[in-house]
Structures are given as structure tokens and as C-alpha cells.
């Protein structure tokens, strides 16, 4: 571990100035991912700026069914929040499906979407990785790809984003409030994460020194009927092979509106617009669910690799989406 300086800034603006003015500086919130990376040598900052104590730690009702979630709210607190459970069950379920109780107590809403891929090659500094060291090559291509992307990958990077919470946020049309050296701005959650393209070292559209201060959830009545389904290799404490966040509105056996996002399959939480489009106006039936999945997965590309690669994710995701939609449509479908 390379030695670094630590700074406790006075407020968020001070924190932003500290990081923005130093290319070797990073923010530290819950530390559930960054501390690992410090030990492994994945990141070697000169300066660590602690922000956990100064980020807003409240969930605020904005009226009309909208919420503002302070970036310092812990995953545990958010998952248990009565309004979240009532208005956005998909988000509560996603949070509770992630990590362990101890990690959820440490993890923050601001830090969670910014956690980095768990690609084993990214985390191992003895192997080439374009995300860790641009231009060094991608070790995952042709390697162990079980946990890698089937959508939106590039020849330079096939990593996936590991967050569960972010998948729900993408489906819920959340807005990310960001404080930067030039002031505040709002980034739609679905635009926060990038696809790898030829610059996989950049996970998000945030600039150096930009700090997430809150995430807003706009009113979304159909989210009251929403769910998160995570499919993984063990019953807890594992990252998603695939996951589905979905909300649907059904009237007289017809799907009138839907929000769908996928996790575990791309460099970003994958908002499934094509699936949503296919669902709108379709009967709540198995055939519709499959058609929606097929529409979204038309461009899916498995990554060949050890132990059979990850081609299984395509049928798995199709079947999981159908199961989630079936469950949500429930009695209205019959």
C-alpha cells in the first residue's frame, strides 16, 4: 500500500476544492470498495479526502411522492426507510440483496453507484487491464468471463458494474445531484455510467473533483408495483450473474406502462428501453414478456471464456425478466 495523506475537509465545497486541485486525490465515503483498492494497489492516491461525515444523511420528502436521498445515507437506512419501501419497493429490495449487513451499514448512497467493477483482472495488479492501466490490454477477454458483460461491451473492456442499488435507480429515473468546482449540476442516473468504448478507465461522466451530494427520486406511481430480482451463485453475499429491476402498470390485462433495468450484464446499469417499449400496450402474458426480453437482448453478445464463458446469461436473463414480470402482473394478468 502506497502511503497517502488524509484530509478531513470542513464542508462539501472544501472537499471538492481539495480533490479538484489535486489529480492524485480521491474522495472516501464508506470505504467498502476504496479501502480494498488501496490495499491491493488498484488505486494509489496521494491524498484521501474523507467525506462521510459531511454528506447529507437524511431522506427528505419533496412532495407529490418524490424523495431526495442524501449521499451520506447508508444503504441499510435507505433500504429500511418506510417511504422507500412503500413507494419504491424495487429500491429497497435491491439494496437488501447487496453485500452483507455490515457492508450495507458502511456503504453510502453517494458511494455505491461509484463503486468499481469486481472483474478479477481489474483487481489483480499483476494482470493487464485497460480500466486500471489504459492501453495495457484486457485480460478478461478469453479469461474467466462468468461475471462479465453481454451487452454494450467493447474489445477493450467487458467488465460489468456491480451495484444492485444502481439498477433500481436506473429503472426509477433517479437524478444525481453533483457538486463540482464550477458549482452544482444534475445528471440523470441513466446517464451517470458510461459504456467502456475505447476509454474503459472512465466509469462515469463525472469529472475529477465532482462529488455526489444527493440522489432524487421523482414521483413514479407505477413503482409501487415494482420488484428487484437478483440471480447469483449463492444465496447471499455474491454479485449478480443477472438481475432485473422492474415496475409495471397493468389495466384490464394489458400492460400500460413499464420500467425495466438489468444488472450484471453491462458496464453500466442497463436501462431496458426496448423491453419497455415492447411491453407498453402488450397483453400481460408470457409471450409478451419473452418478446420484451428478446427485443432487449437482440444485440447481446456472450463473452467466450473459461468454464464455458457467459453465454448462459442470455437465456437466464430472458427467463428472469419473464419471471419478474409474471410476478408483478400477478392476478391482473389472469
Amino acid at each position: 500500500m502506497k502511503p497517502f495523506d488524509y484530509r478531513s475537509p470542513a464542508d462539501a465545497a472544501d472537499a471538492v476544492r481539495s480533490v479538484a486541485g489535486n489529480p492524485g486525490a480521491v474522495f472516501l465515503a464508506g470505504g467498502t470498495n476504496l479501502v480494498d483498492h488501496l490495499k491491493l494497489g488498484v488505486v494509489e492516491p496521494d491524498l484521501v479526502v474523507g467525506v462521510a461525515a459531511l454528506l447529507p444523511g437524511e431522506v427528505e420528502e419533496l412532495g407529490g411522492g418524490a424523495l431526495r436521498i442524501g449521499a451520506g445515507v447508508s444503504n441499510s437506512e435507505l433500504a429500511a426507510h418506510p417511504r422507500v419501501r412503500e413507494w419504491f419497493p424495487v429500491l429497497s429490495q435491491a439494496l437488501l440483496s447487496g453485500a452483507s449487513g455490515q457492508l450495507r451499514n458502511m456503504a453510502t448512497v453517494g458511494g455505491n453507484p461509484l463503486q468499481r467493477t469486481r472483474c478479477v483482472y481489474f483487481q489483480d495488479v499483476t494482470t493487464p487491464c485497460n480500466k486500471r492501466r489504459p492501453g495495457s490490454g484486457c485480460s478478461a477477454v478469453g479469461g474467466w468471463t462468468r461475471h462479465h458483460a453481454i451487452l454494450g461491451a467493447s474489445e477493450h473492456c467487458i467488465a460489468v458494474h456491480p451495484s444492485d442499488m444502481a439498477v433500481a435507480m436506473a429503472a426509477l429515473e433517479a437524478q444525481v445531484r453533483v457538486l463540482g468546482p464550477d458549482g452544482e449540476r444534475v445528471v440523470p442516473f441513466v446517464d451517470l455510467h458510461r459504456l467502456p468504448g475505447d476509454a474503459p478507465e472512465r466509469d462515469t461522466v463525472l469529472g475529477h473533483g465532482e462529488l455526489v451530494t444527493a440522489i432524487d427520486l421523482p414521483a413514479l406511481p407505477l413503482a409501487r408495483r415494482s420488484a428487484y430480482r437478483k440471480v447469483r451463485d449463492r444465496a447471499s453475499y455474491a454479485f449478480a450473474l443477472v438481475s432485473v429491476a422492474a415496475a409495471v402498470e397493468v389495466e384490464d390485462g394489458v400492460i400500460t406502462d413499464a420500467r425495466v433495468a438489468f444488472g450484471g450484464v453491462a458496464h453500466a446499469p442497463w436501462r431496458a428501453y426496448r423491453a419497455e417499449e415492447a411491453l407498453r400496450g402488450a397483453p400481460a402474458s408470457e409471450a409478451s414478456y419473452r418478446a420484451a426480453a428478446d427485443a432487449e437482448l437482440a444485440d447481446a453478445r456472450p463473452a467466450a471464456g473459461l468454464d464455458g464463458g457467459n453465454a448462459f446469461k442470455i437465456p437466464l436473463l430472458r427467463r428472469t425478466l419473464a419471471a419478474v414480470l409474471r410476478g408483478l402482473a400477478g392476478e391482473d394478468a389472469r
Binding site: 500500500m1 502506497k2 502511503p3 490495499k39 494497489g41 469486481r118 478479477v120 483482472y121 483487481q123 489483480d124 499483476t126 494482470t127 485480460s139 478469453g142 479469461g143 474467466w144 440471480v231 447469483r232 451463485d233 449463492r234 444465496a235 447471499s236 453475499y237 455474491a238 454479485f239 450473474l241 473459461l306 468454464d307 464455458g308 448462459f312 437465456p315 437466464l316 427467463r319 428472469t320 419473464a322 419471471a323
Partner: protein
């Protein structure tokens, strides 16, 4: 001989004597040993799997404040013995596997050591490596023996002819994965030479055997054993990986000699444990079973292919349980190895039996299916009268009792044999069974001393408690052997200052150490009668095993598996094991051993797999986030029971070792249950959802 009185302490459900200090966090593990002025060691590891070190630039590391020493093959002392190639560290420029230690940094703080290790620049002349195990390799070879000293191959009758003539047969290939032991406490050593830099070496080491570690280290450093002391009161799990010293012990001792007067601490990181601390070889098992129409076996064969390291051989005895499990006139077992550019494989809970009862016990289920016979009944029909191969009578064999008791407790009688026809909600449900077995082993050397100290009787022996219960169970045996209340018995273990004890391996601990304690107690009573004076002392040695009998423990495991009809996720809702393992010394610690073994077997069935990337030659999922072990949420209903079994031949206590049998057969029972649930035979572990998903995709499957 047997215990001198009807057991009073033996068999009691006593809590662990070491429980309170562990719960309070005051039990001292090796790395935590309180010593002033310690230095910390961090290894530098090879980033190629085969080749030579051509350049070692340690300047930046040495220049770092707080760095005390950097050792390389050019600067480290020459070891007296390099016969154990795994322990011959920093002796030459060869790299034999990726992750091998090529230098070490010693510093005032662990963070500094780790940082400095990253600053050591190493150049290599890389050579082409080969880490791929395949059954069709042309360089497979037959080892001279398999672990520890079984014949490599056995043959009786004519298997090929019997297979050709069999009314019903099974011939399939089964695979178990590479596994890493992953105890919670990493491999950790603190080394101190006194007087400074030379003289007497003390090692506080997390080990399953203080005396065996002392022997190995004395040989490596060319010391008399009397000049080495090894201390280890508590072990945070070992599962075989601490049964033999690994390179951490040698490194700590080497480094401590290089920084005179200072103790050196080393704890491997979790990632380092995936290349420096042993593991279980993957196995490829070609299993053949032939039977008459009534299920009588006419042929049994297992042909095993597995790997070893090019620098040192370890041949897992995977085919050995097939030699004695069921009766058959025709039988063949073989082992072939591929020597690869990988770390040295080693012991992991039930070497041989654990992987070796996967293929054969799934094959038995497949045979039962083809015969239309209940798999419990098929096993009962093939009970041998005497041990196949040796022809010896069994000291006791209660496999049938375990099968019947387990079937009754599990509710097996109502089972519909058809696969893929039960559904509860979104889950397809099935049940499966497999047999377990483990030999009764006795090590040749162990001595115990018993002494009266005030109102207490103290038993001393350099035994180990890996969380298994030794602190408690040895006291129970001592109490009954002396005829005194267990509360008056104190036990001292885990130190070479106590009499010599064998390694805790092969489930031999209680048989070996307990026998020595009983002998010591007999000598004590003979010498002092019922009124021993203060300071009265006597010793006893473990005697030889009774060679007239074949001695094994047996068991039967039943599993209920659920397969999600949409996603193929596999969950085991219920595991039930019944074991026949002689007299149970302490039901509380015994249940913990059985349930722990079964849990590890469940982990093998569903989760564990070390992914060795052939391009780099290292295990890429080398942490507990990616190397999945069964976690709490995966373990639902799990029960262990045992039959009352009287066996006067195994040892004075009438006990059989129970540390390993729980992991034997579990994975087969789970695989058999998964087949029953969804109709898919998973012959290669682990049973992950991608292996059952294709069958669920077929429209007829799963209802």
C-alpha cells in the same frame, strides 16, 4: 484394551473449555503473540508461472524508511536441506509456479513491508508454462504410491469382461474442481531466534502439529530438534492446509535470522493463500459399474486423472475408497498424474475420500436409476462380508444401519423415484442419497504425561485443537482413564515443550492422542494406585493398531435439493447425515464436526471452484468474494445423527475419527437430489445454474 471403567466423562455433552476465551477474543492466535520489537514480513511473488529470475532491483525498497531487510535468492542464507522443494524458498533463481516467493521485505510495520514489496522490481526470463489438466494428455504418469502410502493401482478379476457381460452398467466421467482450504485464520507465523540471530528458534505458528512442524523446520535449517520450539494453543481452522508447514514458516525463520534479536511476524494475505498454502487437486474420474438385473455388482472401477506440481509430487488417493466400499468380484482402481507448473497440492479435509466418493456415489445413483431400484436398497444389496481387497473382517461396519436410520428420519419411504415431477411454488424439488466412509487411522508416535498438581490431574501432550474440541475431549478421556471427575483434569496441548504428538490429520487425533493418554493413565494408576502424591507423574505411548481388522467409519447422507424453475438456481433446503463412528466422546463437539463437514460438502457441491487461468497459471478468483464458500443463507436444515456403535477393536475409547467423514459423500447426495428435482445429471462440480438451465429451456421440463 478399553477404558478401565464404564465411561462417565466420555459421552458427556460438555461445552468447549476454550469457548470463553475465544468468545471474549482473548485466545492468542499465532500472529497475535505478544512480543516486543517485532518486524513484519511481506513476500514478493513471481508474476510468471515458469522461468528464471534474471533481475532483482531492491534499491527502492531498501531505501524506504522503516525497511529493515530485503532477502532474495542472492542474499538469503543457504538452507541445510532443500529436499522438500516446497520449503526450499529463496535458494535459486528458478520460478516453478506463478505466485512463488522470489523475495521478502522485512520492515518495522506491515504497511511499510507491503509497500516496499511492491517496489521490488523483478525481471524474468519467462518460459512457456503448462497448467492444464486433461485426461487425454500424453504425459500422464503413474506415481509410485498415492497419499500417504497406498498402492497406485489395484486390480481384481476382469473388469472389462464383466462390464461387457453386465446386464446393466454405468460408465461415465465425473469431475471435481480445484479447491482451496480457506480457514478463517490465515497461515501465520512469528519467528524468534535467541540469542540474537542464532541459537534457539521459537516459532509461534498456526499449525495442526507442533512436533511435525518442528521436525520439518529442524531439517530445513539443519538444527537439532531440541533447539526448536513450536507453540500453537489455538488454530483458526486448518482443514489439512496446516497439516504440513508451508513456506510461511520457513520465510519467517529465515527473516528472523536476518534481523537479529527481533521477532518477525508473517500472516499470509487471502490472495497469497491461493498459491502458498496447499490445495486439493481437481480430479477427473472415469467410473464404471456393472451389475446383474437384481443390482448385484459384478464390476467396479475408477480411473483417476489428477494433477501435481512439477517440483514436488502429491498424489491424492482418490480411487482408494472404491477399493473397499462395495462387494464386487471384479474391481480396478488407477491413479494417473499430470505434473504441471502449479503450486504443490496437499491435504484438504478427507483427501482421497472426499473427491473419491463423488463420482462413484453418483454412478451408484445412475445405476439404481437404470435398474429401477431404490438407491438405498442398491447399496444394501452390495454390502461386503469382509473388506474387499484385504479380506480382513471389519472391526465394525454399519453402513446399512446408517442408510436405514437415515431413510427413516428423512422420510425416504414415500419417495417417488421419477425425476422432475415435484414442484413447490417456483421450485422443482428432489431428494438424493449417498454413502460416506472414512478410515480409522492411528499414528505411530505420540506420548502423553499425566501428573498430579495439587487437586488437579494434568495431562500434557503436544496435540492440536483446530476448533475440533481437543481441549475438552482429551480431558474427558483422561478423567475416565484415571477414574476421576473431569472437573479435576487439566489439559495442556499445542507446544513442543509437551510430549511428542502426531499431527492432527487423517481424523487420527483422538485415536492416537487418546490412546497415549489412556496408556499414561494406566501407568499412573499402576504406579500410584488411588492415592497419588503431589507431583506423581507417569507417561504412556500410543500402541500399535490391531492389524487383524479393517477399520472404517461409515455414514449416509440425504439431501433435498430445490431447483428454481425459471433461473436454475440450486438450493439445498435439507441435509441429513447419519454416521456410525464408534463411541462419541462429546456429542456437542462431535455434532459440530459432522455438521461442519457436511456444510463444507455442501460448499463443494454448489459453490467452491478455484478458477485456474491457463494463460497466466494462477487462480484468478483468489479471494472470498470470488471463491465462493457456502455462506449462512445457503445452509438451511442440516442435521447430523449417529448410531450407537460398539467397537472394542479400534482403540481403548472405542472411538473413530469424525473430523472428515462429514464432507464425504455430501456432494454426491446433492447431485443425486438435483437430478431427482430436475432430471439433469451434473457430473462436474460445482452444480451451478448454467448446468441445469439448458434442460429447463426445453418445453417439457419442469412442468
Amino acid at each position: 484394551m478399553t477404558l478401565p471403567r464404564e465411561p462417565e466423562a466420555v459421552g458427556l455433552d460438555l461445552p468447549r473449555r476454550d469457548g470463553p476465551v475465544k468468545v471474549l477474543g482473548t485466545a492468542t492466535y499465532a500472529y497475535e503473540t505478544a512480543l516486543a520489537g517485532a518486524a513484519y514480513l511481506h513476500p514478493v511473488q513471481a508474476t510468471v508461472a515458469r522461468g528464471r529470475v534474471t533481475e532483482l532491483d531492491t534499491g527502492a525498497a531498501e531505501a524506504l524508511e522503516g525497511v529493515v531487510a530485503v532477502l532474495t535468492h542472492a542474499t538469503a542464507e543457504r538452507l541445510a536441506s532443500t529436499g522438500n522443494r516446497e520449503l526450499a524458498v529463496l535458494q535459486d533463481d528458478r520460478v516453478a509456479f506463478r505466485g512463488q516467493v522470489v523475495a521478502v521485505v522485512v520492515a518495522d510495520a506491515p504497511e511499510v513491508a507491503r509497500h516496499a514489496a511492491a517496489l521490488v522490481r523483478v525481471g524474468y526470463a519467462q518460459e512457456e508454462h503448462d497448467v492444464e489438466l486433461r485426461a487425454d494428455r500424453e504425459d500422464l504418469y503413474a506415481p509410485e504410491k498415492v497419499n500417504p502410502d497406498f498402492p497406485t493401482d489395484t486390480a481384481e478379476g476382469d473388469v472389462d469382461a464383466a462390464m461387457a457381460a453386465a446386464a446393466v452398467s454405468v460408465e461415465e466421467t465425473y469431475r471435481t474442481a480445484m479447491y482451496h482450504n480457506n480457514p478463517m485464520e490465515p497461515h501465520a507465523t512469528v519467528a524468534l531466534w535467541e540469542p540474537a540471530g542464532d541459537g534457539f528458534l521459537t516459532l509461534w505458528d498456526s499449525t495442526q502439529g507442533v512436533h511435525s512442524t518442528r521436525s520439518a523446520l529442524a531439517a530445513v535449517f539443519g538444527l537439532e530438534e531440541a533447539r526448536v520450539r513450536v507453540v500453537c494453543p489455538y488454530v483458526g481452522g486448518g482443514f489439512g492446509s496446516k497439516g504440513q508447514p508451508h513456506v510461511n514458516v520457513v520465510l519467517a525463520a529465515l527473516a528472523a535470522r536476518a534481523v537479529p534479536g527481533r521477532p518477525v511476524r508473517l500472516a499470509l494475505t487471502r490472495q497469497q493463500m491461493f498459491c502458498l498454502a496447499g490445495y486439493r487437486t481437481p480430479t477427473i474420474q472415469r467410473c464404471s459399474l456393472g451389475a446383474d438385473r437384481d443390482g448385484t455388482l459384478t464390476a467396479v472401477a475408477i480411473d483417476v486423472v489428477e494433477l501435481t506440481s512439477r517440483i514436488q509430487e502429491f498424489a491424492e488417493q482418490t480411487g482408494v475408497p472404491t477399493r473397499m466400499m462395495y462387494a464386487s468380484p471384479n474391481r480396478r482402481t488407477t491413479h494417473r498424474l499430470a505434473a504441471l507448473d502449479v503450486p504443490v497440492p496437499s491435504w484438504m479435509r478427507a483427501p482421497g475420500e472426499c473427491p473419491g466418493m463423488f463420482g462413484p456415489e453418483v454412478a451408484m445413483d445412475e445405476l439404481a436409476e437404470r435398474l429401477g431400484l431404490d438407491p438405498v436398497e442398491l447399496r444394501i444389496r452390495n454390502e461386503p462380508d469382509v473388506e474387499p481387497g484385504s479380506g480382513k473382517p471389519f472391526s465394525s461396519r454399519n453402513l446399512v444401519g446408517c442408510l436405514r436410520e437415515g431413510a427413516a428420519r428423512f422420510g425416504w419411504a414415500q419417495r417417488d423415484p421419477r425425476p422432475g415431477v415435484r414442484r413447490r411454488g417456483d421450485w422443482l424439488v428432489g431428494t438424493g442419497v449417498a454413502a460416506s466412509t472414512y478410515p480409522v487411522s492411528r499414528m505411530s508416535k505420540s506420548t502423553a504425561t499425566i501428573r498430579r498438581e495439587g487437586e488437579r490431574y494434568v495431562a500434557e501432550i503436544g496435540a492440536a485443537d483446530l476448533g475440533t474440541g481437543t481441549w475438552t475431549t482429551l480431558a474427558q478421556i483422561t478423567a475416565d482413564a484415571l477414574g476421576v471427575p473431569v472437573a479435576r483434569v487439566a489439559v495442556r496441548i499445542g507446544d513442543t515443550d509437551y510430549p511428542v504428538a502426531s499431527v492432527a490429520g487423517g481424523s487420527s487425533g483422538m485415536t492416537t492422542w487418546g490412546s497415549a493418554v489412556v496408556e499414561a493413565a494406566r501407568a499412573f494408576r499402576a504406579r500410584y494406585g488411588d492415592e497419588p502424591p503431589e507431583g506423581a507423574e507417569a507417561s504412556g505411548d500410543v500402541g500399535p493398531a490391531d492389524e487383524r481388522f479393517a477399520m472404517h467409519a461409515f455414514g449416509a447422507q440425504f439431501a433435498e435439493a430445490h431447483v428454481h424453475a425459471d433461473t436454475g438456481e440450486v438450493r439445498v433446503r435439507r441435509l441429513l447425515g447419519v454416521f456410525a463412528a464408534g463411541r462419541i466422546i462429546n456429542p456437542r463437539t462431535a455434532r459440530s464436526q459432522f455438521v461442519g463437514g457436511m456444510t463444507m460438502g455442501l460448499s463443494m457441491a454448489l459453490h467452491e471452484s478455484s478458477v485456474l487461468d491457463p494463460r497466466t497459471g494462477h487462480v484468478v478468483n483468489h479471494d472470498l468474494a470470488d471463491y465462493h464458500v457456502t455462506a449462512n443463507a445457503d445452509v438451511e436444515g442440516i442435521e447430523a445423527h449417529w448410531l450407537p456403535e460398539h467397537d472394542p477393536y479400534v482403540n481403548a475409547m472405542g472411538s473413530k475419527g469424525i473430523g472428515e467423514i462429514g464432507i464425504v459423500g455430501t456432494a454426491a447426495a446433492v447431485s443425486n437430489a438435483v437430478w431427482h428435482a430436475c432430471g439433469v445429471r451434473v457430473r462436474d462440480l460445482p452444480i451451478t445454474l448454467d448446468k441445469v438451465l439448458p434442460a429447463l429451456e426445453r418445453p417439457s421440463a419442469g412442468g
